[in-house]
């Protein structure tokens, strides 16, 4: 085991080796939406008062709309279309 340790620690090279995100890639939408909201609101808000509140509000709004769109598409594609089309 001791002999394997250097090889194990050298196995992953940050920024050179990709991280395996195949099982959880869709969770990355949350930090992405949050960071988009953070930059967008930093550019758009007239004053910086309540900035973080607006960032969180925009993040929640985008996520809720995406979830609703997912539900809508699920209903159309997997429930309505097989029955009525």
């Amino acid at each position: 085991m001791n002999m394997l340790l250097p090889a194990l620690t050298l196995a992953y090279r940050p920024f050179l080796d990709p991280i395996d995100i195949s099982g959880w890639w869709w969770w990355l939408v949350i930090p992405m939406v949050f960071l988009i909201s953070m930059v967008y609101k930093a550019i758009r808000v007239p004053t910086m008062r309540r900035y973080w509140r607006q960032v969180v509000k925009m993040t929640v709004q985008v996520m809720v709309v995406m979830v609703l769109m997912c539900i809508g598409l699920y209903v159309i594609v997997l429930w309505a279309a097989p029955r009525y089309f």
Binding site: F15, P18, S22, L35, Y40, T47, R49, Y51
Partner: protein, 158 residues
């Protein structure tokens, strides 16, 4: 007071600030005195961009394979062509033994490539917003502003 602020913060054409905003995200706002906005823009774009590179590796930036995505990533700044040049020079490795001892970016596939590419390109698109914003953004004049509650010092013309 509003009339006075509008008088102080006259929008004008900025030539240098958009260039700075491209060189380093947030630097254009910093140059115009919008320090807090600058820090937030820089942090958001840097986390998106370098987070994408951390997830997918430097091979995510590839002008030859993904030219359209590359132009989006290019909006983040000169760091993108530098990474692209480094990647083009080091991949594929000339000698198979290089894979053990030498630095080269291993390619990523499927979601492991798509999501990091999206992260880095979205960072570029957000920086485009920041670049466009500073073209006509007035300078902040802190000395002209009245004392107010925390967070209200920095303001801009509507």
């Amino acid at each position: 007071m509003l009339a006075r602020d509008a008088e102080e913060d006259e929008p004008r054409f900025n030539l240098f600030a958009p260039i700075l905003a491209w060189v380093a995200p947030g630097l254009g706002h910093w140059f115009l005195g919008h320090r807090r906005r600058s820090r937030l823009i820089a942090t958001g774009i840097a986390v998106l961009y370098f987070g994408g590179l951390l997830l997918g590796g430097l091979g995510v930036i590839d002008r030859q394979q993904k030219p359209l995505w590359y132009y989006g990533q290019l909006l983040v700044g000169p760091v993108t062509p530098i990474i692209n040049a480094w990647h083009a020079a080091h991949y594929p490795p000339k000698d198979p033994t290089f894979s053990v001892n030498h630095a080269y970016a291993r390619p990523s596939f499927s979601h492991g490539n798509e999501i990091p590419t999206l992260f880095t390109t979205v960072a570029g698109m957000l920086n485009l917003l920041a670049i466009l914003d500073v073209i006509f953004l007035p300078r902040t004049r802190r000395e002209a502003l009245p004392a107010g509650p925390p967070g209200s010092v920095e303001r801009r013309a509507t």
